[in-house]
Structure formats: C-alpha cells, structure tokens
Amino acid sequence: MFLSLIFANTFEDRCYFAVIFPMTGHKNYMYKSWWKILAVVLLVYTFTAGILIEVPRNPQLQETIRNLFFHVCMWFGMMILFIISVVHAIKYLRTGKHIHDIASRQYAGVGILFGLLGYITGAIWMSYTWIDSNKSFYDSFDSIAREPKLIGAAIALLVYAAYLVLRDSITDMDKKARISAVYNIFAFAMLFPSIWIIPRLLPSLHPGGSEGNPALNFKDASMNMRLVFYPAIAGWTLIGVWIATLKIRFKLLNE
C-alpha cells in the first residue's frame, strides 16, 4: 500500500509540476520521490527491527525500552520541523515570497502534531515506569507534570499554538504572513535557549538532563539500540516533512 502511494505521488508530481514550476522557479525537494521512499524504508525497518532486536534488560524499563524508537523520535521530529518552520519564516521576511509563509505555517502545524504524539507516547511509557502503583494516574499527574522536559515541551506547544491563534486573528494576507513570521522568529529565539536552560535548573526523573539517573541512562547501554534509534529519527522526521509538503502543495493548489 505504501509503495502504491509513492508511485501515485510521483505521478501527481508530474502533473502538478507543470502547474507549480512557473511559480517556484525550480524543481525543489518537495517534488522528488527518493526521500519519500527512504522514509518508508526507514520506518519499516524501525517497526520490524525495533520490535525484534535484542534490548538490554533494565529492571525498571523491561520491554518498554522499545518505546525509545517512537517517543524520543517524536521530539526530535518536532524540533526539526520547528526549525524548518523558522527558517521559512526568515526566508519569507527576506524575500516576501508567499510560498515561504505557507511552508512556515504547515511545518509548524505538523510540528505540533508530532509534539502531541510525543506526549501520548510519553504518557503510555510513564504509566509503566514512573507512576506510583498505589495511586491513580490522576492523583500522580501533578508530580509528573513538574518534569522539566515536560515543561519545556509544554512551552514549545503553547508558543506554536499561540502562533496559530495570532495567524487566525489577522484577516489581511500579507499582514498575517509578516506578523506571524516575526512572532515565529521571536518565539523561536526565546524558546530554544530556555529548552536547554530549564532542565539544568530543576531536578528530573527524565533521562538526558545534566546528570541523568544512571539506572535510566540506557542510551549508551547498547550498540544494538543505536542501530535502530538513529535510522528511526531520520525516518520519523522525513515522514513529518512529507506530511508537511503534501499540505503545502494542497494549499498551493487551493490558491
């Protein structure tokens, strides 16, 4: 099914290419298919190898350690998509080309989707590892929500949700593009230092802080896992980019 989707895409590409080429001036990455095939291959690999490989037995994590290939990749994907979004915002301000505004908006939207998926996979993971088994999920939520990584992610999602609200509140198209690009850049520049700062300020259960819990410091534990983890990041990110480019092309055709 995936393969047929790809070929349908390339066929569509040929058709749309004739329409869009005069607008953008060059055949850019959006209309190429090799990276889409790569995304599918990497994800098929992630899903099969991620389930099958030998993983280290950690008394606390057990088989949930496989969630690394899904949960952590969502955050990587979110960050990369937000970075692409801000790059397009800068490009819009420099060139004033409308396509960059559309791209900036769509990448931010897919970034938010990845963030939400990251929260969901994280919630499933933590319900097996962090939650006090004597308390309900609801009762232990307030102690978990204090996690610095969660605060950072929540700020990121709130910022981009505010970005969407700001966009929708302006009716004039040029003005909307300009003002939201300015906010996008400003928010991004304020957001990313703080994502690196906050985890170093507060104590955390979450691995990957200033001094991760040695019991949870599994990233370095197994060469096996890295063999799946890095391709998984690339695969998830590429699929995010693919979704965003489909939305961008849909928007371009709409207008």
Partner: protein, 218 residues
C-alpha cells in the same frame, strides 16, 4: 548622534503624553494597590514561598497592564507620521527605554506595597530589590515587543497574554529560583543565572531591533 537625539525626543514625547494623560499612570497605580489589597484581604501573612510566587505573578500582570498600551495607544495616523520621520530602530529603542523606566518605577512601588501589606519575609533586601528591578526590566522588554505585534494585529491586550505567557515562563522561572534564595541567610545568588537573565534581555533587545522594521511597514 542623530539617532540618539531621535531616541531622546521620542522618549520625551512618551513622557509628555504620560504626564498629560495621567489617567493611565494612575490607572496602573490603582491596579497595583487594588490587587495587593485583595491579596491582603485573602491571605494575611503568606509563607516566603507563597509570597515569592504571588509577587512575581503580580509583577507579570502589572507589566502586561503597564506596557500593553505603549503601542496600542498609537493610532494609525500617528504611526504613519512617525513612519515618515523616524527610523524604526530608534522608535523601538525609545519605546523599550520608556517602558523599562515605567516598569522599574512600578516594580519598586509594588515591592514597597507588598512588604507593607503582606509582611516582609525578605532577609536580603538590597539583593531582592536589585533582582526585582532586573525582573521588571526583563518583563517590560519582552512585553513591549509583544505589544507591537498585538497592535499590528489590531488586537486587544488579551492576545498579548496568549503570545507572551509561554515565552516569559523560562525567564520567570529563573527569576523565581533566584528570588527564593533571598528568604534565607545561607545561600547566595548564583552569578551565572543572573548573567543568563541579562543575556536573555540583550537577546530580546537585539531581536526587537532586528524584527521591528518588518512589523512596521504597512
């Protein structure tokens, strides 16, 4: 030389406006007094931690109220006039300077009122005052720029809160963490965190100066 003169004149103009239309100044003053009085009615002598939390949240709301109008008050015609006579960088710097001054004044007043009504758990007063002034300055810088965005979007102050809260959380957390140390004699203020806040402020000023020209042309 020319640009410093422009900035000076623009600050003077804002100051003159503030003196002529005193209702807004007294409005903020009344806002501070009323909020702190309400807090006084509900909790008499809060613990240091609660005191600190309340203080910074009140600072945040004072800042939104004091700074929001800086761009919202400028009418379309007046903006067009400024557009034709001054450089956007000078305009932004003048606004930042004026709002910083306003917010420093308000922060100082709110410390006095807070310690008057809600008790004074602060052990190291000079450090705390310095920290509050730094905090007020940081808040005013971020919200001045957001006020420019909100004004261009032709929105009320509500959108400023939506845009600003997520962005200001990290700085507010840094400030609260630092401020928590002034309630005991033991620990000193971490210089590295202080430096970090100052660096963030400089970052905000630079971003505001770089990005404002894009906002302002219509």
């Amino acid at each position: 030389m020319n640009s410093t003169k422009h900035i000076y004149n623009l600050i003077k103009k804002d100051l003159l406006l503030e003196i002529r239309q005193q209702y807004s100044f007294y409005g903020i003053l009344l806002y501070i007094i009323a909020t702190i009085f309400v807090l006084y009615m509900t909790i008499r002598e809060p613990e240091p931690k609660v005191w600190n939390g309340l203080f910074w949240v009140i600072q945040l709301f004072i800042c939104i109220n004091a700074v929001a109008k800086s761009f919202l008050q400028e009418t379309r015609g007046r903006m067009l006039y400024f557009y034709s006579i001054v450089n956007p960088k000078d305009f932004m710097l003048a606004k930042l300077a004026f709002n910083s001054f306003l917010m420093l004044l308000m922060s100082f007043l709110s410390i006095i009122l807070f310690s008057l009504f809600l008790g004074n758990p602060v052990q190291k007063a000079p450090q705390f005052i310095g920290l509050v002034l730094l905090g007020g300055w940081s808040l005013s810088l971020v919200f001045t720029f957001l006020s420019a965005i909100a004004a261009k979007a032709q929105q009320n102050a509500a959108i400023m809160a939506i845009l600003g809260f997520p962005i200001i959380i990290p700085q507010l957390m840094l400030l609260m963490n630092l401020a928590n140390t002034v309630f005991t004699d033991k620990t000193g203020i971490a210089a590295s965190t202080l430096l970090l806040i100052v660096m963030l402020d400089i970052l905000v000023i630079m971003l505001a100066v770089i990005l404002f020209p894009f906002l302002w042309k219509d």
